[in-house]
Amino acid sequence: MKDKDKDKLNNELTGLLVDEKEDRSIRARLWYLWRLLWRDKAGLIGLLVFLTIIFCAISATILAPHDPLKQDLYASRQPPAWTEEGSSEHILGTDNLGRDIFSRIIYGSRVSIMVGFLGVSMAFTLGIMIGLIAGFKGGRTDNVIMTLTNMVLALPYLVFVVFIAAVLGRSLLNVVLIFGLTDIPIFVRVTRGEVLRLREEGYIEAAISIGQKTPAIIFKHIMPNLLGPLVTLATFEMSAMIFYEAGLGFLGLSVPPTVPSWGNMLAEGRQYLTVYPWMSIYPGLAIVITGFSMNLFGDWLRDALDPRLRRMKK
């Protein structure tokens, strides 16, 4: 029998022995998560805002009232709709080329979410792999990996990122690569730390004592316990990346100026800050709200995934 089959068997097997009285279905667990979320209103708000932003990014073409790239010099520098000079045509006003700010913010969310999501996915995957190797191999391998990791972490982060961005040039792919690579050390460190902690757990020793194979120990016993802290870390890192991407954009080092992104909008609005503040304020707000909501959500996730805090009531 192959290992995969055996695992499948294990799952089915326990399914056969289900105690009918107990309701431990997926629905019950979701209901529990929902109760946790409802109790922590901040986390709920965070999640809702975050979902809204993702929704905006996905359906930007439908949601945006205008083409974000369409210039209309006759309608340039219009203030938001609720001011005297504003028009209901452009809710948040227009920039110096007459582009609709609201539409640009909606489209800008695509860049932010893409950078955050892809960057984190990259750092997450590579970080776990390297961290597992460091934590499991130990000895010299561990020393080399950790020394490298610490060296990268010791570099002044922003200067480093700016340098790479300047060398590689402006494109979405480059930005994702920059964030993905520079964030790996953080995931490596956390993974390695968790692996070292988990290796001390009794059930790992128990698995060794019943003669379990090393790959099976990693995938059956260590990985599932790693996911909790790492997923939580990922949310925080994602919000950090969204911030940094905006920062790079502001410095003119992120995506090309033709692409609507929050950072680029900030950069363009900078010279008009005192005269036409709405050009910078609203993209700025979008950045703050996104980061804030993800931090709230991350806090909740950390609580929800911590087995110490998990207490299910029948």
């Binding site: 109790r39 087995p307 110490r308 998990r310 207490r311 299910m312 009531k313 029948k314």
Partner: protein
């Protein structure tokens, strides 16, 4: 003689996310001056929470009801009714508490650490401690806590030297100045059998071994010559030979200082040589209270009898089975409506499921909360205690 401490109808309930935890339910006991009362029970029986409730050391969402009259020279007050400030003044001064050293993570009992003077506790630590108590209650349910909790609490502040911590207590409660506090601290360290006290004064807690830490803790506890010393499982984390040292020390100090001692433990063996009276706790209530000889000679509650049977007798050869109490402790999330031991009791009958036993006086000072007369193999009839 008026008891030093008279606890009546003490109940403590925690409100948690999962519902109410009925941790202590109607506990009654008296403590006379100079005597040793042992409180025996398993994890979650409410023995520690009882003491923490009396000292106002529980925080968070909880409700404590009942009364606890503390009367000694010039003092006569209800611990549960006085203000926090007044309680602060008593604690560490007239009533001291020593805890099990929280070095081991997996003891059968709650590891509650605490600076002797509560002012040293940061808010965060207090919250952690409370979380532990709740977790402990949860663990009892058997279904609540998924992981063994590791106590991060130490009974000492790790960044203060042991000597400073003793001086601190003296200065807080007795108004000692720096110099006299130092002198007294050295004296106390010597009293609890720590060699080279003048050097040890400047040691940090982690430099002490478990036994020495416990000695230092006792030094803090007796620094103000309290009327009551509450010892919460002080020897559970220690080795047998060290345990014998600490018990010896406590006995000696009790005689020298004439204080009353409440010794909380799960070990009936230790109790036999230590206590004058014993209260056995189960499911948050004192199920049997008796003078120590009476309790071991003729236990009147099936739980006490079971506990005694579960201890192997070293005077006999092994081979026979131990008497074990089948089943697991009660679910504290349920409000008690009948005898909490009914699920595991070999003598259970109809009445046990219908009402909560309030206690029968079996003989002088011997009260058992059980409807069944084990000696005569029949249900009890007489009048129950009023409360």
């Amino acid at each position: 003689m008026k008891p030093l401490l008279s606890v009546k109808n003490l109940s403590t309930r925690f409100d948690t996310f999962d519902g109410s935890v009925y941790a202590v339910n109607d506990v009654n006991f008296d403590l006379n001056p100079g005597e040793t009362l042992a409180v025996v029970g398993e994890s979650g029986s409410g023995k520690s929470v009882t003491m923490l409730s009396l000292l106002g050391l529980l925080s968070g969402s909880k409700e404590v009801t009942g009364s606890a009259f503390f009367s000694t020279a010039g003092l006569d007050m209800d611990l549960l009714a006085i203000s926090k400030t007044e309680l602060n003044r008593l604690r560490g001064n007239r009533i001291s508490i020593i805890f099990q050293d929280a070095l081991r993570s997996l003891n059968p009992v709650m590891t509650v650490g605490e600076q002797i003077s509560e002012s040293l506790l940061t808010h965060r630590e207090r919250e952690e401690r409370n979380a532990e108590i709740k977790e402990e209650a949860g663990r009892l349910r058997g279904s609540k806590v998924s992981k063994a909790f590791q106590s991060t609490l130490r009974s000492f502040n790790p960044v203060m030297t042991v000597g400073e911590q003793i001086s601190e207590t003296l200065r807080t409660h007795k108004g000692y100045n720096r110099k006299s506090a130092y002198r007294r601290a050295i004296e106390l360290l010597e009293m609890v059998g720590i060699s080279q006290p003048d050097k040890r004064y400047y040691s940090y807690p982690h430099m002490f071994s478990g036994g020495m830490r416990q000695r230092a803790m006792i030094a803090i506890a007796i620094s103000c010559t309290p009327d009551i010393l509450i010892a919460d499982e002080p020897t559970t984390a220690l080795d047998v030979t060290i345990q014998a040292q600490i018990i010896d020390l406590t006995k000696r100090l009790q005689q020298e200082l004439g204080m009353a001692v409440i010794w909380i433990t799960h070990d009936l063996g230790v109790v036999a040589g230590l206590a004058d009276r014993v209260m056995v706790m189960y499911g948050g209530t004192g199920v049997e209270t008796a003078p120590v000889d009476r309790l071991y000679e003729s236990p009147c509650h099936p739980y006490t009898a079971g506990l005694l049977g579960a201890i192997p007798n070293i005077a006999e050869d092994g081979g026979d089975r131990l008497i074990s109490i089948e089943g697991a402790p009660p679910d504290l999330y349920q409000e008690p409506r009948h005898c909490q031991f009914a699920w595991r009791c070999p003598y259970v009958f109809e009445r046990c499921w219908k009402e909560i036993p309030r206690g029968y006086t079996v003989s002088e000072g011997h009260v058992a909360k059980c409807f069944y007369d084990m000696q005569n193999n029949q249900p009890r009839t007489g009048v129950q205690n009023s409360g």
